[in-house]
């Protein structure tokens, strides 16, 4: 018994010292190695008189556990200390810049087209397209603008051949013609795209973007036209109320025709859409001319409807406060970065057009 106690007291006091891992391992061997003091005592259990044997074994086990625990704790203590020392050394300046990432952007015109498509999608329009190069018939004649008609002067046209048969489309309206020739009524489409006029100054660019709208069915009247455009303008500018005015005008391919103005005011140098005493022209529209319907083999006695054409670049300028039309196509990296949109900002119906 006294052996056990002696060993215990001796080693408990030893383990109280500040020890290195090596020293602990030596102690471990001294106790539990092959010829370690505790191991040796275990070997003697057989020779202990039976009457004392039980107590001896129990005491020995108890001391063994106690010492083992002390050793384990001591090792953990040293390990922890070591790790902490290591981590302390690894400390870095976390204010250093992160690895760079480059953000790409979507052009404001593309974003605006997606917004427009999203709005019209909600009321059942689908998107159609047409080629940039058009023939003279689709761009003018079929749209009730015969040759030698002064209305052609409203469009400064880029021609691709001397006979003026092929040209860069001056508006998106030829998509109306293509759509109606291809399918049967009813039609309910928008057609965004590039358009071209040989005009270049501060407010005109030889290329710009339009979106065409066409809705042909039985009994579609000017009230539907007004309702559709009012809905669009309100949604697009994300305003509750919109001041809008329809003004009689003339386009060869619609009759009656209208131009649409929206009210605005300037507050602190910024343009506020939807209120105020000033008018801003933003689009042209009207009821599709019966001559156009006849040209595409739609019976005007049975079907009628409206069409409109909106300048996309101009809408984008108004909504996002862009002053210069020409900058859209100048490809200045700084401008694209400033006015571009994050590709993750996809305009949708359910989450709204913008964040």
């Amino acid at each position: 018994m006294s052996d056990i106690k002696n060993i215990r007291d001796q080693f408990v006091s030893k383990l109280k010292n500040d020890l290195s891992l090596e020293e602990i391992n030596i102690i471990k061997t001294e106790l539990f190695g092959k010829n370690g003091q505790i191991s040796s005592l275990f070997k003697t259990i057989g020779s202990i008189p039976e009457i004392e044997r039980k107590k001896f074994a129990s005491d020995l086990n108890q001391v063994k556990d106690e010492l083992q625990n002390l050793i384990t704790n001591k090792i953990n203590e040293i390990d922890g200390k070591k790790i902490n020392e290591k981590l302390e050394k690894e400390k870095i300046d976390i204010s250093l810049p992160e690895r760079p990432f480059v953000r790409g952007k979507v052009h404001p015109v593309s974003q605006t087209i997606d917004e427009i498509s999203s709005i019209f999608s909600e009321i059942g329009f689908s998107v159609e397209e047409g080629p940039d190069v058009e023939n003279e018939y689709n761009n003018f004649t079929a749209l009730n603008t015969p040759d030698n008609h002064p209305a052609r002067d409203m469009h400064d046209t880029f021609y691709l051949d001397e006979n003026k048969k092929f040209l860069l489309r001056t508006h998106t309206s030829p998509v109306q013609i293509r759509t109606m020739l291809k399918d049967k009524p009813p039609f309910k489409i928008i057609a965004p795209g590039r358009t071209y006029r040989s005009d270049s100054d501060q407010t005109h660019s030889p290329m710009f973007h339009q979106v065409e709208g066409l809705h042909i069915d039985k009994n579609i009247n000017m009230g539907h036209l007004k309702g559709c455009l009012k809905y669009f303008i309100k949604e697009f500018f994300e305003v509750e109320k919109i001041k809008m005015r329809f003004r009689p005008s003339h386009f060869p391919f619609t009759e009656p025709s209208a131009e649409v103005d929206i009210g605005y005011e300037i507050k602190d140098g910024k343009i506020i859409i939807g209120e105020g005493d000033h008018w801003l022209e933003i689009l042209g529209c009207g009821m599709v001319h019966p001559n156009v319907l006849k040209n595409v083999k739609v019976n005007p006695a049975k079907y009628q409807g409206y069409a409109f054409g909106i300048g996309i670049d101009r809408l984008a300028m108004l909504k996002y406060g862009i002053n210069d039309l020409r900058a859209f196509f100048d490809c200045d990296y700084r401008w694209l970065n400033h006015f571009g949109f994050d590709p993750l900002d996809v305009p949708t119906n359910y989450r709204g057009l913008s964040r």
Partner: protein
């Protein structure tokens, strides 16, 4: 079309103010472009009398005048006019006044050491006439008692500029505008006085319209005025023309202009004595020449409508007169022409000769065919009144008799188109005011269309008139129904939008550049395409349709690099062209990346952007768009504008014929020729039209989920192969050894040089082997290893590196 409210009042009895006029004009479709106060500041110009003139002490030609400007006030004015003399009544402009001719503002000025307070004005400076040799001379008897009063009659009428749409020639005359206003309830249209010419004198100049094919003149009215004295116009007439920004010239010219503007009836005045033996209206013959009033010589082609006499062409009918027969200040006998020319003929001639004139603008839109006599009478009476002389009978020659169009109008069609109702009574009221003759014919209305409305020919035109005059504000809003019967975008359109945002998400800024480009730049990229010229380009730098997006992108890349931006990625998605017919275009996404990665980074060493950066962008974009990269096949056949050794072409799979994309370094020669200063330039082109559309929706794309939980093992192999063998082929051989067991292959080293035979390279790959059915034991693995080595050696001639 420029008008004033005052001029409108010649035709309209009205009590409203100008603000409500402007609103009404816009409401009925006569858009007000601008309103300008022309007489602003004109009240400063005073009638004044020179009391005394003295020679300027320091200048021989200048005089110092004491000028009485009324209320006993005398101003000293330095004046260089030879006609400045004591007692002369003239026009004085004080400092602060703006000279109408050159819009300069007067200040108190020292002229050779003598201070001059204002200026004495010539008629030219006041825009009254071309007279600039001396200061204005006002008749003593008429103005002696007006010293100190304003010279210009004060009008409060602003100059209103209207944008008249091409369908409304009638509104190119003040009366037409007045008629529209009256129909909409703005005032009452005044009756025109219908004075008859009671002359017995015949019009002695014979007029003949040849009856030939494509004759552009349908009728030609004329009136001869003899023994006239072409004078300066009276003040009322001058004021009228000045009020709409025109310059008075001489009575006869001013009168023809006045009639044209007042009732949209273009006239032409000839000096009758200069016409050789009568007038012949005929088609021109190629090569005929004449000098027009714009002082230009024109050489005519066949079939242009000319007014001619025995000696040749006098003028182009309805477009421009000639100098040979023009009226001058000493003209004694005047022939006034009032004719009708076919709009199509006018337009085609004017286009061919590139002439624009007031008359042309009106005739090509369509002049009232029944206004010939009215115009002649109006002009003749005014000439007689102002210039004296005698009026002849009116002569009208015609080859075509005008008949008013008649159409039937169903009143119900109005509501069908506009969605709201007005009574038949209101319709009749409006149409009557617009000049229609209406008869009720059972359910329909029988309408005779006024001769001044060539734009009206069918029912819908009548609906437009009625809704325009009733007011667009009456149209009731029909709320749109939120219902979608068809999907908004097609698969192609969805792919377009997807690729656009996918590329942008990889750090590229989207550009939109013009569909045309500089032929110089296009040349680098056009390849086999022929140059697609624009006939009338806006400038020589934008003269061809682009065969590639690169031409514009590289141009703008250079501009941005010149701005000092070193590392940039831009892309564009849009059309490129391979022909000048509709449809000869395709859609491409094209991007360029310039500069370095990790420039000035504290973390890692910088490096140039390279072909594998751009290859990743292409491959990843296609993968995001739903294509399987394991099937992609790349070879090195690329267009000449890529670096021949560092570029590739990608197919969606090995059997595909059309190219999905090109990518690579841009050819160094092009970088040099375009003067692009960058360390590296790489680019790509993805051809949308060549990407097969998946008609599977996302839900169909998800196949059955199956993964293996059996142990996998990895083995490394290094093969020595001929340099020509590419990695793609070797990997493909390995993958095909056993598709069930080989789940992944990674290329981790390419080595050439020491220990490798010449023209050979070492390719090291890591192969993952895993079964779906069991844990592979050593012998299974051994078997597959051996099979891989054997197959690769057989198929590629490679040797395993030991």
């Amino acid at each position: 079309m420029k008008i004033t409210f005052d001029w409108l009042k010649d035709h309209l009895t009205v009590n409203s103010n100008e603000a409500s006029l402007l609103e009404k004009l816009t409401d009925i479709g006569l858009e007000v472009e601008s309103v300008e106060n022309l007489s602003e500041g004109l009240d400063l110009f005073k009638i004044a009398k020179i009391v005394k003139t003295e020679k300027h002490p320091n200048a021989d030609r200048l005089k110092v005048c004491d000028v009485d400007i009324g209320k006993k006030e005398i101003k000293k004015v330095v004046c260089g006019a030879p006609n400045a003399r004591d007692g002369l009544i003239t026009v004085y402009a004080p400092p602060g006044a703006i000279i109408p001719k050159n819009k300069t503002k007067l200040v108190v000025a020292k002229i050779r050491d003598v201070t001059s307070y204002g200026m004495l004005c010539s008629e030219s400076e006041l825009n009254l006439s071309e007279e600039s040799d001396g200061i204005t001379e006002l008749p003593f008897s008429k103005y002696n008692k007006s010293i100190g009063k304003s010279f210009f009659t004060q009008t409060n009428s602003n100059l209103i500029d209207l944008s008249i749409t091409p369908n409304r020639p009638d509104c190119l005359g003040v009366r037409g505008i007045a008629r529209d206003l009256a129909a909409s309830g703005f005032g009452k249209l005044k009756q025109e006085k219908n004075k008859k010419i009671n002359s017995k004198k015949p019009q002695t100049i014979k007029v003949k319209i040849t009856n030939e094919k494509n004759q552009g003149c349908f009728s030609f009215g004329s009136c001869l005025l003899t023994n006239v004295k072409n004078v300066e116009s009276p003040k009322w007439l001058k004021d009228k023309l000045i009020s709409i920004g025109q310059k008075p010239i001489s009575a006869i010219v001013d009168i023809t202009n006045y009639v044209m503007i007042d009732i949209n009836r273009p006239l032409h005045a000839y000096d009758a004595d200069k016409i050789e033996k009568g007038i012949i209206v005929r088609n021109s013959k190629s090569g005929e020449k004449f000098t027009a009033l714009d002082n230009k010589n024109y050489k005519l082609e066949d079939g242009m409508c000319v007014i001619s006499d025995d000696k040749g062409v006098l003028g182009l009918g309805g477009i421009i007169g000639g100098t040979r027969s023009g009226t001058e200040i000493d003209t004694k006998n005047v022939l006034i022409e009032s004719a009708y020319f076919d709009p199509r003929s006018i337009r085609s001639t004017a286009k061919r000769l590139n002439i624009d004139s007031d008359a042309k603008f009106r005739f090509e839109r369509g002049i009232d065919q029944l206004s010939i006599e009215e115009g002649l009478k109006k002009a003749a009476f005014l000439i007689k009144e102002i210039c004296g002389g005698e009026i002849s009978k009116i002569d009208v020659q015609k080859i075509y008799k005008f008949k008013n169009k008649i159409i039937k109008f169903d009143p119900n069609s109005f509501e069908k188109v506009t969605g709201f109702k007005i009574s038949t009574k209101d319709m009749l009221y409006i149409l009557d005011k617009l000049g229609f003759q209406c008869k009720k014919d059972k359910k329909a209305l029988k309408l005779t269309i006024p001769s001044w409305r060539p734009d009206i020919s069918q029912e819908i035109d009548i609906v437009e008139e009625l809704v325009r005059i009733s007011g667009y504000d009456k149209i009731k809003i029909e709320e749109p129904i939120k219902e979608r019967k068809k999907s908004t975008l097609t698969q192609t359109q969805k792919l377009f939008h997807f690729l656009q945002r996918s590329i942008a998400s990889k750090g590229y800024l989207e550009a939109i550049t013009w569909s045309f480009t500089d032929a110089k730049y296009n040349d680098h990229f056009k390849g086999q395409n022929k140059e697609l010229k624009i006939v009338n380009p806006i400038s020589s730098e934008l003269s061809v349709l682009r065969n590639s997006i690169f031409s514009n992108l590289i141009m703008y890349m250079r501009k941005n690099i010149d701005r000092g931006i070193k590392d940039l990625s831009i892309f564009e998605i849009g059309p490129i062209f391979y022909g000048t017919q509709p449809g000869q275009q395709s859609t491409v996404v094209s991007g360029l990346v310039a500069g370095k990665k990790s420039r000035l980074s504290w973390l890692e060493k910088d490096r140039n952007v390279d072909v594998f950066d751009i290859k990743r962008d292409v491959v990843q974009t296609l993968v995001e768009a739903g294509y399987d990269s394991e099937k992609f096949f790349v070879d090195d056949e690329t267009p000449a504008y890529y670096h021949p050794g560092k570029s590739g072409r990608l197919f969606l799979n090995r059997d595909e014929e059309s190219v999905a994309a090109f990518f690579g370094e841009i050819h160094p020669n092009i970088i040099k020729q375009t003067d692009l200063k960058t360390e590296s330039l790489v680019g790509f082109e993805i051809f949308l039209d060549n990407l097969k559309l998946s008609n599977k929706s996302l839900k169909d794309q998800k196949t059955k989920y199956s993964v293996s939980d059996y142990q996998k093992s990895e083995r490394d192999f290094a093969f020595i192969v001929d340099k020509k063998i590419n990695v793609q082929d070797l990997v493909s051989v390995v993958a095909n050894v056993d598709k069930n067991l080989i789940s992944n292959i990674k290329v981790f080293d390419i080595y050439e040089g020491e220990n490798i035979p010449e023209n050979h390279k070492s390719i090291a790959i890591n192969v993952t082997i895993q079964s779906q059915e069991k844990t592979l034991d050593v012998s299974d693995l051994d078997k597959i290893n051996k099979l891989i080595i054997k197959t690769v050696e057989n198929k590629t001639g490679a040797k395993i590196r030991s």
